[in-house]
Symmetry: D2
Subunit: 390 residues, 4 copies
């Protein structure tokens, strides 16, 4: 019970804030965890910003060189919450140093990087996880339980998902790092399509082949003034090329025969963080919408005649729903940040147990394989088989 796990967090932006909160909160709500978390070091490139983050988010010390964090003897866990172009290098170094590694999604910029990370993780024997936090929305975790228990029947027919945001609709929104391929890897694809691919894999199974299209609606945008939150256009009115996708839409097949239809967009005006999926099996269906994240809609063919319909389950039951006994009475909702607390709780348990914890780097690499297949498909205007990652 008195074991301590000391965390070094790299990144102090949006994910730094969300992760820090989860590290701080997890022991307060998961009292039976076998280890106490210590927020040992947070790391960012700019000294002033990282010191602000340290103080605000509750870390013991601030660092500006991630190599120091990775090498520090008083760090057990390295949490990588930086831009996608840095994940691979950092993870390799952290794993080489014997640290447990939690890495934000997407695991890397491309499949080659992801494979290197997976190989390193296996070599090291360390606990590794990619932070697909939406798996641990209680409603999603419940969906998984239900599917595993056969409540949707023996055959899944459809996985139909859409992840829509709208923050790029305005053509004057500036070209931040997220809109440049060499920094972000991709656009809506890596940022949000990755999430629904992971949910599809988690809930339905492996994806076999894909055919997709990626679009960039606005080809040029004002250059961004560095360091502004929210992002502002730089003075002078110069523009730069957008080199990532604004939206991606694709169809595919799961290994088990289910049809896949997914779309991710930053141009879904009015949709803020609208992750919806519907899964149709031969005995049941599920529907989820993140903007109503405490609920899961479940249709069961087994209900009595005339009483069938989608049941609106408020997933807040302490006895019956995943993770809920840690929190509040029924009907007292959870929010976005709780998905990280749940993820980190399971991660801590795994680190303490030296046991694997999903989604592993294998999951991250397989997600990346699907993503790369979609990209190849879009570029080549053809169906592409998802490369195997073993």
């Amino acid at each position: 019970m008195t074991k301590t796990l000391r965390v070094g967090m790299i990144g102090c932006g949006f994910m730094g804030k969300a992760h820090s909160n989860a590290w701080r909160q997890v022991n307060h709500f998961f009292p039976e965890l076998p280890a106490q978390v210590q927020l040992t070091a947070i790391c960012g490139r700019e000294a002033a910003a990282v010191e602000r983050a340290r103080s605000l988010f509750g870390w013991a010390r601030a660092e500006t060189d991630w190599r120091t964090v990775v090498a520090a003897p008083d760090i057990d866990i390295v949490d990588i919450g930086t831009g996608n172009d840095t994940h691979c290098e950092m993870a390799l170094a952290a794993l080489a140093a014997g640290k447990a590694v939690l890495c934000e999604k997407p695991l890397a910029r491309n499949l080659a990087e992801a494979r290197r990370m997976l190989a390193a993780a296996r070599r090291s024997g360390a606990v590794h996880m990619v932070c697909h936090n939406y798996r641990r929305i209680p409603a999603v975790a419940l969906a998984r339980q239900m599917i595993q228990a056969g409540e949707l029947g023996g055959a899944i027919r459809h996985f139909h998902a859409r992840y829509a945001q709208d923050w790029l609709v305005n053509p004057n929104f500036p070209r931040t790092w997220r809109l440049q391929k060499h920094l972000a890897g991709s656009g809506a694809h890596g940022d949000i399509n990755a999430h629904i691919i992971d949910l599809g894999r988690y809930l339905v199974g492996e994806i076999k082949e894909v055919c997709g299209m990626m679009e960039t609606f606005i080809k040029e945008r004002p250059l961004a003034e560095p360091g502004t939150v929210p992002p502002q256009a730089a003075a002078g009115g110069r523009k730069g090329k957008v080199t990532v996708d604004d939206a991606v839409s694709w169809i595919g097949r799961f290994a088990n025969g289910a049809m896949a239809n997914l779309e991710a967009t930053r141009f879904g005006l009015g949709r803020k963080n609208h992750i919806t999926f519907e899964i149709n099996g031969d005995k049941g269906s599920l529907y989820f919408d993140f903007e109503d994240m405490n609920r899961l809609k479940f249709y069961s063919a087994n209900s009595a005649a005339g009483r069938k319909g989608f049941t609106d389950i408020i997933v807040t039951d302490r006895e019956a729903h995943p993770y809920m006994r840690r929190w509040w009475p029924p009907g007292h909702l959870l929010g976005y940040e709780h998905t990280f607390v749940h993820t980190f709780a399971d991660f801590i348990q795994a680190v303490a147990d030296r046991a694997p914890v999903h989604p592993t780097f294998l999951d991250g690499a397989r997600c990346m394989a699907v993503m790369e297949a979609v990209e190849e498909s879009s570029a080549g205007r053809k169906w592409v088989r998802v490369p195997a990652v073993k």
Copy 2:
């Protein structure tokens, strides 16, 4: 199969249109009815208007004196769809003439009238019905079946209903007949509260005692220009007193111990025909909203742990849902007017069988007894026991 029932309809406004449609439609969708309806005569006060209605709504002849209709030997059914101040006199005459009578709700202006109508109906032995058409919304009929079958459990705890419209919010809406007590009897009370009282009686049981308040928010309105549709203010800017309620809100107790909470208003801005009710039993709950009238939400305490929630039943299943086998495939919705077709189908069957059909004049009178108790309660600022109507 070849029996014919000849209808005389009194009234050619909104209800004339809705009833005419149902008379025309009913045999086309209820082929097994033992009688064919004939739209024999429609009656209104103004010759030109009634002739227009006759032609448009499909009646054989137009009349301007309701006594002619009531006395006509070629009329079997008298359908009263006129203003509330005329129901009693017309019904008495029609019953005396041996006609089957279908009367719009509220049955009368007051309980005394309603009692007279009930007595006359009993004396005559004719089939009589008050047109509380919302009982035969398939979702409501299903609710009734479920409650009767015990799906809500042995004890009902709450009937919580609201009927909100918003057509009086504008203070310049003119003072039509509906806003004058001597013509309408009451305002929101008789027009829409009557409907939810009837639903409460139909679904939960008799109401024992009540305590309510009635309000008239706008005390004076522009005089109405006669005959304008939609209503227009008369030139000259003169105003007249509003002598009926704009809204009524009340609490009460059912004989079976359930608590009643009802509200009816014409000032529910944004609500158009928003009839909602929730019924909470000790084993199940129901929720209904007329603006989504093809659905019934059902919560069952018997569902499996972790799978409980309100099930959104789309009440369009041909095999399992009341009235639905006459219409379209599942998911192909019905609308407002179908409630009249269902009502008239059951009425025709009853007339052919010389059998009672709910809601009878007894139901209409009991509804009126509740209404009168609410009025007395509001005037006297006290609880009032609902008078017995046997």
Copy 3:
């Protein structure tokens, strides 16, 4: 006003019932139409069945040979509501006879047939329409008005639609004519995908290229006992091959640059007639769900800061919403069958005016061109350019 249009209806099944109702109802609710409809003849293959339909649906005479109907001098309008394999031949004959033609969707079994029908229609100069009735759901007609008025902005980014039903989930549902290619042309594709393709074309514009997949989940089904409603398996337990698609999922591009993502399935367990679409423009978005067909959700980027969101418009306003002044007060809902009444009203007006009325056979043929491109794409596993239909 006294002009008469005499209709001959071919087909007496589900569509026969829906169309007959609309022919009967249209003059009652659209009083200003310049012609009175007469239900002159209904035609079906089986004498007993068509006589039953004649009597039930209100037609003057029954016919068993469609050629008689098409040739009859007392018929002005031929309404084709039969199986897809007969549309072309019947329409050609009717047009040759100088009749106005209303044909159920999909216009034909394939593009070649559709082109022939279009050419014949143009040659004849007769008024012709394909019955994509969902265009005239008031909410859809409103969506069209809004888009035309620029309320969604200058650029449409996404048309994301799904049409899900679930009547084939049970593998023991028998192999009716709808599951055989030579009779139906295709499965979910022609039956329901056709509808959302038409909605996409109506609302967003022409579709340029497509890439899709079609699946048949259940390859064999019990043979159907002829003439059973609902369909029953024949005795003996023999099975037959299903030769049409159970589901189709596809992506594509509109000529105006919008992305298309559509899916149609008969395996969407729990979905009955679930036509949903979302359209995202750069100033507004729309969402529609047929199972809630009286509503349209509208997001406007022009709303005040902090007040933005999807507005749930109940499309029942007599003054402001298409077709609604013919019906009932606000909040009194319409249903499925009203879509046909609206369609036929516009058709009658057009026939009287000898004016074109959308969707014309050109629309039907263009819809068919998209459908055929999706089929070719699915068969060849490739992107396909939609053939031009001029």
Copy 4:
């Protein structure tokens, strides 16, 4: 910036957990607060339990005598989260000791106690607040802003609210302290009706007169085994009397003429923490449901014709919505516990500024005056004027 405020928290149950979390979180998300919170002491009656709470919730020391906490020189703020029977005594002592006081709702067991607390607070000059946390749900805070800004118009017509839970439906749920009048003061009334009364006062104004009924559906329940969470019946099967209400339903009038209709119940089967209210003004309406707490539905009469409807505002906009800039991007939801963080942030600011902060003890006492009036009304079956609290 470096000021420190040291908190002593009395109570270590559900509210202890929720409050502790907020004290821990507030400085991390409200960086501009002028004081840092220290979780100095937590107090409970049982040494083992309070030590567990101390450790789990992050407090510096554990106490078992609340008088020690109240008197401690190193405590600036006393947070009272205990049973209702103790609020008065503790608050009086804390105020006498010069502490700022935050007290859970309902403020006291009755109006007399509440008046004493209010007088003491005024005498002391200390900052005092009653923890009606639901005022600071962002959607509720937005509702308040909108009403204050006149977006609902000059006249409010209706406040229609229901707070339904269902944890007492099972008659075998044991008789905990919450079901005994001498400990809890009342049942659903003080526990949840208090919340919607406070919301009514906050949003619409003072309530002038009331008429209500209170019911106890299950008069006896199994005795509770002490200390069990969730509560268990004691062995032996003995029962005890339930001396509080299970449900309360009432009508009333606001000073500004609006009609009030409220209901609070623990027998609303299927409803978990279902706080709903609708407010109808003459220019706008609002609807809120706590089980969908990140949203506010707003109908504006000012919207364009044909575009009116309830707008579903997702209240997560950093720029435009109360409290949201502290948290996550749009569409990333908040939960129940955030209401406390917002409340405490405003309280800390007020303590630092020595300024009043709503809801004050005056608000708490006025809420109690309404509650007591409802109780008197129910007991006497009559309308009761709400006593003035100045």
